[in-house]
Amino acid sequence: MMAAEQNVSGTLDRRDVVGRILERRGDALVVTGLGSSCYDAGVHDHPNTFYLWGAMGAAAMMGLGLALAQPARRVVVITGDGEMLMGLGSLATIGAQKPENLAIVVIDNELYAETGMQATHTARGVDLAVMAKGAGFTLAETVRSEHDLERAIAALYETRGTVFLDVKVTSQRYPMSIRLRDGAHIKNRFRENLLGQAAFD
């Protein structure tokens, strides 16, 4: 049985955080991790968003490949703490590569929400922002308040370099938002919107 309440450190609302990030996306390209981050972003569906429904641990590295291919565009990865923990090596790879246009936002509820609300390592003191800083990210911080969130979102889009935000949110769960889950379709939609006819070369 699922616990009714979870003792997590975050006070921000995940859907509000993701909504506020995406309302300022402009021409940014977005990759989401699987699970709740996918559903949060799906509320604001856009062809410039690629949704992962699996391949846990892929989000940050997909962001890197996309950022290298599209250096003039801002690339924003929105993922969860569990997904980020499964791809921690990516932080080192991205820190070593130093693209100028890549931001990673971890919506950190300190829980594996999809699998029964088990605690992740971030509930036990593991600090993802410190790890990103250690990997060489230009800006890396933990966001806990409304005030910090406003400032951090501006930095997310304006910083030249690599940005890592670990945004602490509550354990609130929301229903799935989008039905779009066919991977080939999501990919083709994204490429056609971004590349036009060249998508079919």
């Binding site: 990759v31 997909m62 490949g65 950022a67 290298l68 291919a69």
Partner: protein, 176 residues
């Protein structure tokens, strides 16, 4: 490595094929067999060579590259193929093209018993993960096979792996 009587030209052949295929991103976990190719790619201003902490990162990275309009290639040793299994679901489900060049260990004159487990199962693991697998065992055919694999990967949106036989790559002589 065994003493070679002729200079090794196949890494340069692969590099020339990358140019023909317009490969822009090369992801790699360093491997002795790919040493020269990695250097060539690092020195090419039209390519970005990215060193990975684990091979599965490359599967995700090159999917992102393709989303953004770049072609890529992933270089690894056979021991890395097993690290990619779940990440290959990304290529299979989304029909991302993926060109993988895998130098083989554990199959020809191998001295290290720990290489056998993955070396002997690489092809089956990749096939079970939805990849087309093609082998090359003659140095002079490497370029041709890699070009054919690249065309298949990028034209049919499939994961295609080329296994470069250990007989080509060379093995350590353990008798001394």
């Amino acid at each position: 490595m065994k003493q070679e009587t002729v200079p090794r030209t196949w890494p340069g052949d692969i590099y020339q094929v990358f140019k023909r295929l317009k490969v822009a991103q090369v992801a790699y976990v360093p491997d002795a067999g790919h040493t020269q190719l990695i250097l060539d790619c690092q020195g090419d201003p039209e390519m970005t060579a990215v060193s990975l902490t684990t091979e599965q990162e490359g599967v995700a990275m090159l999917s992102g590259a393709w989303l953004g309009g770049n072609r890529g290639a992933l270089l690894m040793q056979s021991s890395g193929a097993g690290n990619c299994i779940n990440m290959l679901s990304l290529a299979q489900e989304c029909r991302f093209p993926l060109l993988m060049l895998i130098t083989m260990r554990g199959e020809w004159g191998e001295f290290n018993p720990w290489q056998l487990a993955m070396g002997q199962s690489t092809q089956r693991v990749l096939e079970h993960s939805g990849c087309v697998v093609q082998r090359v065992d003659k140095a002079e055919e490497v370029g041709e096979v890699v070009f054919a694999a690249g065309q298949m990967a990028f034209s049919t949106n499939r994961a295609v792996a080329v296994l470069i036989g250990q007989r080509i790559v060379g093995f350590k002589d353990w008798s001394k």
